[in-house]
Symmetry: C2
Subunit: 491 residues, 2 copies
Amino acid sequence: MGSSRIVEMMQPLQPDDLLTQSHVVLDFIVDYYKNIENYPVQSQVEPGYLRKRIPDSAPYSSEPIEAILQDISNDIIPGLTHWQSPNFFAYFQANASNPGFIGEMLCTGFNVVGFSWIASPAATELESILMDWMGKMLKLPSAFLFSGNEGGGGVLHGSTCEAAVCTMAAARDIALNKIGWDNISKLVVYASDQTHSTFQKVSKIVGIKPSNFRLLPTSTATGFALSPDVVHMAMKDDVASGLVPMYLCATVGTTGCCAVDPIEGVGLVAKEYGVWLHVDAAYAGSACICPEFRHYLDGVELANSVSFNPHKWLLTNMDCCCLWVKSPNSLQDSLSNNAEYLSNNASETKGVIDYKDWQVALSRRFRAMKLWVVIRRFGVAGLRYHVRSGIMMAEHFEGLVGADPRFEVVVPRSFSLVCFRLKPKVEADGNELNRKLLEAINSTGRAFLIHTLIGGIYVLRLAIGGTLTELRHINATWKLIQDKADLVEAS
Amino acid sequence: MGSSRIVEMMQPLQPDDLLTQSHVVLDFIVDYYKNIENYPVQSQVEPGYLRKRIPDSAPYSSEPIEAILQDISNDIIPGLTHWQSPNFFAYFQANASNPGFIGEMLCTGFNVVGFSWIASPAATELESILMDWMGKMLKLPSAFLFSGNEGGGGVLHGSTCEAAVCTMAAARDIALNKIGWDNISKLVVYASDQTHSTFQKVSKIVGIKPSNFRLLPTSTATGFALSPDVVHMAMKDDVASGLVPMYLCATVGTTGCCAVDPIEGVGLVAKEYGVWLHVDAAYAGSACICPEFRHYLDGVELANSVSFNPHKWLLTNMDCCCLWVKSPNSLQDSLSNNAEYLSNNASETKGVIDYKDWQVALSRRFRAMKLWVVIRRFGVAGLRYHVRSGIMMAEHFEGLVGADPRFEVVVPRSFSLVCFRLKPKVEADGNELNRKLLEAINSTGRAFLIHTLIGGIYVLRLAIGGTLTELRHINATWKLIQDKADLVEAS
């Protein structure tokens, strides 16, 4: 390739070219959404399929966008599990939306890196304002809001895991300031056996001895929620053993079955033991913007930190996790990142926020732009409508399951997740029967659900709340489940 | 608002609406790029400016996109520091490009969450193939490539910090498996006084005692690179004190002055002490895709892990960090995240990659899509052209500085960073003189540079390589610097 041709091609950020290429790609994406119901929800490819289709090294010369889109159609789309399909009911949803998409375009277009205030004041200030907006939508106590002027505030992270790393590191350092770093092996982290496994991972990441992570037992008696008594006993025992309770995660809407830990009850125990209480409302926090569901956050005034993910159920494309803390100072003590090349007059006044000291990485995307567009385009009314429609569809599905005597709802429905199973004739066969049922459903490609174990029972999880999901998809999926149950029971 | 109006408005992912809204936003972004040279590069707003302009809580009802764009024009753009301005020379660049933008659109459009293979096989497989593409572009040893079949491979992270957390946690756990978790306070991490401050932050995050982080001294004698002898002495001393050397970071292109640590020299020391060697080539790794610069990675076969950021200099919009490890098993041992709801047949075969076990978070964006579009649209030739043009402009600027006897280049230029200063008449006045010069330059809004301290000397850093930067911008900035030097010297 002659250098003149490279020069001609190399207008890497030429505005008119951006417009032309983007229009082609937009048409492609719009077609994808128009056809999304035609694709198998869960990809049906075999491991290793793509290495057979793609060159094993990078092209030397430029390739046209049309060739790339053709390859996406032929080789990538068959390998996608379509999270935006209206028939995706696995894990929890990852809502895309038009406002989320254009918000992300603006974030990507500006491509500013607002790690400190000075590196893009608008990015920092918009984020701090939005964290107050969102905090007010959740009716969080003023101690979590910048506008509360009590020292608290919020930040946008990429994931709950990042929020857990930051808060757990802060809690660890507060404890170590009292007992000394050489005693790090005495620190103990508490969660329930329903808490997201990410907290166990994070506990190890921040240097907590793995045997000091307590998976406290839950049971049907509490709807798989933490019991304050169990937390109390565990902390008491650890203290008696010379260990130091440090961090407790309470969950509002666990991944397995949407259990809600009693924040107030466990919060009082945490307070008694001087333990950092984090409230993980990753999925169900979205519901708490509706007055009728806000009570699930009762007791949150006892927490040191709260997080939830608009990128799950609140129509915000990946990624976006809101974290509020009462004492951002403690985050900064653990996470500040100082170097001469980061110093500047604004930071030295201490009158500005440098979000680099509130998160894991130095660099950061302008996620606040996306969240701002989402909230303004939908309004609080629109966001509530979306959450409520998911919950109404889940109620409807719960009714369908309840009306068919072959099935049972295994734990009472919370929010928009229904955990159910095909009742076995002999209990010992139940798990295998439902495993077969799940495979039979997913292999059709017409819906995608996953399972979990609740108290040892294999259940199917139908997580509702995808952006495109309507009542007709719920009804069709239920029909599919019933049909497959016929087959599985007959086999 | 009646519920019928909400329903009418709520078509949150309606394809034709997506097209309409996106076209409006695209036109806005294209206008932004067309006007970008007219904005002050560094925002001139005062702290707190935005709270005076934006409501203090979220709107109840939907707002039109036009109102949002108007607010972005009036209230956000003045508060941005324009990283895509051709006159942005601060920190290191964060390249945006048309292919990066459309790649991000595709990532956002699909919005799949490929944490395990089954959750979107194409996302996982494309990423593993691309990591081999990129590894071959850097001529990494086969031990780092999947295709090498030696157990190694790569992953896309969001930041160098994430790569550091994951590799340091892995190194820590390898060490603790030998000496036991109760001895975590004995582990020592090594870096130079030029190493990015993120490594010190990460060392604390993963539970290394802060006093066990060694900032090894560098000096003019080695061009501010690590000396293997200094590393050797430090490790020897620590071992003699009963401590356990664990992790060493060698940098190719430090942030302060682009020093290059001798990987082979320090790597042999690391090997002798059984220490994990990480090579951080965050910025300068991009240059190593050119044969004439590849020698800076010589010795990389001694490393356990290598990372670099295409989101800096390789035309890839935020965020994208490549990490290769020789032993992904060690990452998985430290970072695996298992729960019943994540279990699936494919994962149980161990024949697929589940990237959730290679990173901090569970969720992840489809970054491979973006990087694929970037590499194919530019080709290796185009990417090399971009890197070389930045370096040529830096050579040119270095020549301009050298030709003006009032100035000096303080450390020899490496890659596309020039560290220079106005020579003081009395050395003791040098730092204050150059601080004033920097303020005078930045306050014009016509260019944005930052400073650093090198061996106690306050220097101005001109980091070249922005996507839109051309020779004319370099010349104009030099003229601006000369003019401001006149003023500062006269004052």
